[in-house]
């Protein structure tokens, strides 16, 4: 697998301005609107077609949004790592951990507060809380992780949290929203005010059944040098604005010879390669089977968490003297 990957890197990646490479890559952006699964509205998956008659089928279609909310329940599509029994056991582990800790719905671009138990912290309860924006999310199964970023004392700080790690006590979604991209690493190269959030931020409560808001903020980048060459990602990331004067990097030898290394027409047909798509994704039938297995437990757990949250938000009226 590795050899095959590197071959593709060596061929496609060398093309400097490569629309071909862009079309080959997987779709990074989600559909423009994701409806919350708890809502009674029809989701975006069945807006084009009329809702089917059988309620069970309708529920399974509605549950297809779970792939954005609980992406760690889907296995790694790489066939070398597939192990159906281990995946099933891992899913049960995830459910058991979710029963202990409140892991709410959040996306890349949401603002979360992560409370962890830190034995070296000099606080009374040995707990530390970090507030920030989720800039990346990845991993499958119990090793699923998020990267949370904030600017503390004018210095950017990032934490990588494994969300099913037993040291994590609580995860709160302070502001539930999505950005234009699934990878906000470019916030490192943006002015600090775009990733600064107050540590004592309060929870912003959305009305029940509202779709997840999409924040279409476009972040202007600082002048180069950057941590990555963001001018090459414009075909797949659209959440930033490049400055007017782009850096003048010295082109490497490989780039200069890219026209000889270019795979040419093969790159153009890669987007029609259905087998490639098949090997890099989890099919809908498999996803439906997974949601049939864990969907009920996830929905009841979510309902319980909502009840607890509503109880917390409700302030008991006191009798006036």
């Amino acid at each position: 697998m590795l050899a095959g990957h590197f071959h593709r890197l060596a061929t496609v990646g060398m093309v400097s301005h490569a629309p071909v490479a862009a079309s080959v890559s997987r779709p990074l952006g989600l559909p423009s609107l994701a409806i919350r699964y708890s809502s009674s509205q029809p989701s975006f998956t069945d807006t084009s077609a009329p809702p089917p008659a059988r309620s069970g089928q309708h529920r399974s279609i509605r549950r297809r949004d779970f792939r954005f909310i609980f992406p760690e329940f889907l296995p790694d599509p790489n066939s070398e790592f597939r192990q159906p029994l281990a995946e099933k056991l891992a899913r049960q582990d995830l459910l058991r951990r979710r029963a202990q800790v409140e892991i709410p719905e959040f996306y890349v671009g949401s603002i979360v507060a992560v409370t962890t138990s830190e034995s070296y912290a000099h606080t009374a309860d040995k707990l530390t809380k970090f507030v920030g924006i989720v800039i990346e999310r990845g991993g499958t199964g119990p090793r699923a992780w998020i990267k949370v970023r904030n600017v503390v004392d004018k210095i950017g700080v990032e934490f990588l949290y494994e969300i099913y790690c037993p040291t994590i006590q609580k995860i709160e979604t302070l502001r539930l929203e999505r950005r234009l991209d699934e990878d906000l690493t470019y916030l490192r190269d943006a002015p600090p005010e775009y990733s600064t959030f107050p540590p004592d931020m309060e929870v912003e409560i959305l009305p029940e059944g509202t779709p997840v808001p999409v924040n279409d903020l476009k972040v202007p980048l600082r002048p180069a040098p950057w941590t990555r060459r963001w001018e090459r990602y414009t075909d797949r990331l659209n959440g930033y604005i490049l400055p007017d004067d782009l850096p003048d990097y010295k082109t490497s030898e490989m780039e200069r010879e890219s026209k000889f290394l270019n795979i040419g027409w093969q790159g153009q047909v890669m987007k029609y390669d259905l087998l490639l798509q098949y090997h890099e994704t989890i099919s809908v039938e498999e996803q439906d089977a997974i949601w049939r297995e864990v969907g009920d437990a996830l929905e009841t757990r979510d309902l319980d968490m909502r009840k607890v949250a509503a109880k917390r938000a409700f302030s008991k009226p006191t009798k006036r003297q």
């Binding site: 060398m14 400097s16 992406p71 599509p77 830190e118 070296y120 990845g138 990588l160 990097y249 490989m254």
Partner: protein, 184 residues
């Protein structure tokens, strides 16, 4: 029956293993990272050169209020590492690589000073912070910090590291923790 188009739309982006470019498998490292240096040695001997590791010639950022440190940062001449006192990669041809808690020797405004690394840019383990700059605190020959205040957040995970590196009769690096204003 789900049509093929619907199926492609419903496809989940794959979550594969790998380094930080895992989401963009079709972009090579040379194309993505502006500071990537191609190795001229045989591939058996090559080592991934990262600007994020703290090695010799790395420029650091002084985060305490010592006089020489403030002056160097104000003049835009940050200290340059000339030696790393670390066990990691110590016997490799390129020298040692420093992490949080390691001692470095620096050239700063024509003088040789020592310091303790308190924050790095390189990606860290889960639960350990990664900073946007390579931070350092200047210390004297006997291990006492030159400044009286640190204006950058320190990590809680640094406490046991500094404690282990201190020696009761020689040096006490935990004095750095007393100067910090904030822990993350």
């Amino acid at each position: 029956m789900i049509s093929l188009l619907t199926r492609l739309e419903l496809a989940v982006p794959p979550l594969s293993r790998g380094r930080s470019l895992w989401r963009y498998n079709d972009v090579s490292r040379e194309a993505a990272w502006p500071n990537c240096k191609p190795s001229v040695t045989h591939h058996r001997h090559q080592f991934r050169v990262d600007t994020y590791g703290i090695q010799r010639t790395t420029r650091l950022r002084v985060v305490d209020n010592s006089e020489i440190g403030r002056e160097a940062m104000a003049l835009g001449r940050p200290p340059k590492v000339i030696g790393v006192n670390s066990g990691y990669h110590r016997k490799k041809p390129h020298g040692a690589i420093g992490g949080v808690g390691d001692r470095v020797t620096m050239a700063i405004l024509g003088q040789v000073k020592r310091g303790i690394i308190v924050g790095t840019k390189i990606s860290q383990k889960p639960g350990h912070p990664r900073f946007d700059s390579n931070n350092v605190v200047l210390i004297g020959a006997d291990g006492t910090p030159l400044g009286t205040r640190i204006h950058a957040p320190l990590s809680n995970a640094m406490r046991p590291v500094l404690k282990a590196k201190s020696h009761p009769k020689k040096v006490d690096y935990t004095k750095i923790l007393a100067l910090a204003t904030r822990f993350v």
